[in-house]
Subunit: 122 residues, 2 copies
Amino acid sequence: MDEVASAIADPVRRDILLMLRGTTLTAGEIAHRFTISRPAISRHLRVLRECGLVRDELAGRRRMYRLDAAALTELAEWIALIRAPADWDHRLDALETEVRRTRRERSTRRTAPHGERTEETA
Amino acid sequence: MDEVASAIADPVRRDILLMLRGTTLTAGEIAHRFTISRPAISRHLRVLRECGLVRDELAGRRRMYRLDAAALTELAEWIALIRAPADWDHRLDALETEVRRTRRERSTRRTAPHGERTEETA
DNA sequence: AAAATCCGTAACCTATGGGTTACGCTTCCA
DNA sequence: TGGAAGCGTAACCCATAGGTTACGGATTTT
């Protein structure tokens, strides 16, 4: 967990992770979006690799990178543990509201996966 | 956000935050639970103070420390953003179930669920 | 086959982090 | 009122992080 936390403590690495959401990019494509040197990016990528936040795959002379968000789970759970005691009830209310709103929004934008359950009362 | 992330990247500081859940402790009480020197703990506490994860208050010749979990919000939201795309619908289902279950459990265990429901921004 | 491309590694420098011991300032107490 | 208690700070040491330039090893292209 130490490694993951210190990995995302760097703004460059956070930006890399953000730009990998949904896509896969080559090392060169990533490096090209920063002003710092390419070797610096290469080492950032190594840090992300070694803590599991990123997976790489050789494709010819290029190397494709993709996000692996599962590496964040442990840290997310620790943060949840710390945040839990504070203002529990209020946050649960807000959370349920948000969950309902987000799912409703998604099921109208896409095709509804399973039955409609938007009218249940708590 | 950099500061918060790098603060919780250290296991000693994570332990300090954990032991501050729910209580307030003096610097001495905290230091006494570790094997490393007291000045080292003092500096860890300073790091936590300066990034807002901890609040301190002088009480005579002692200094009381308490957790301030709000400092984790920004980082938690960033992590949520990264984790969001994966398995979105399924997690929303599970989340709503858990929210409902947890709140029901809490309102039966305690006296009343907040007689007044204040304005919800949703 | 030779050259260009893609990308990691090595060597180097400086800044920062975390530990230690020594010290100093308040505050309590006998 | 003098000494002990509680804590932060300073000075110091060593390891690590992050940047740079120079280099090397595959793969593609011409």
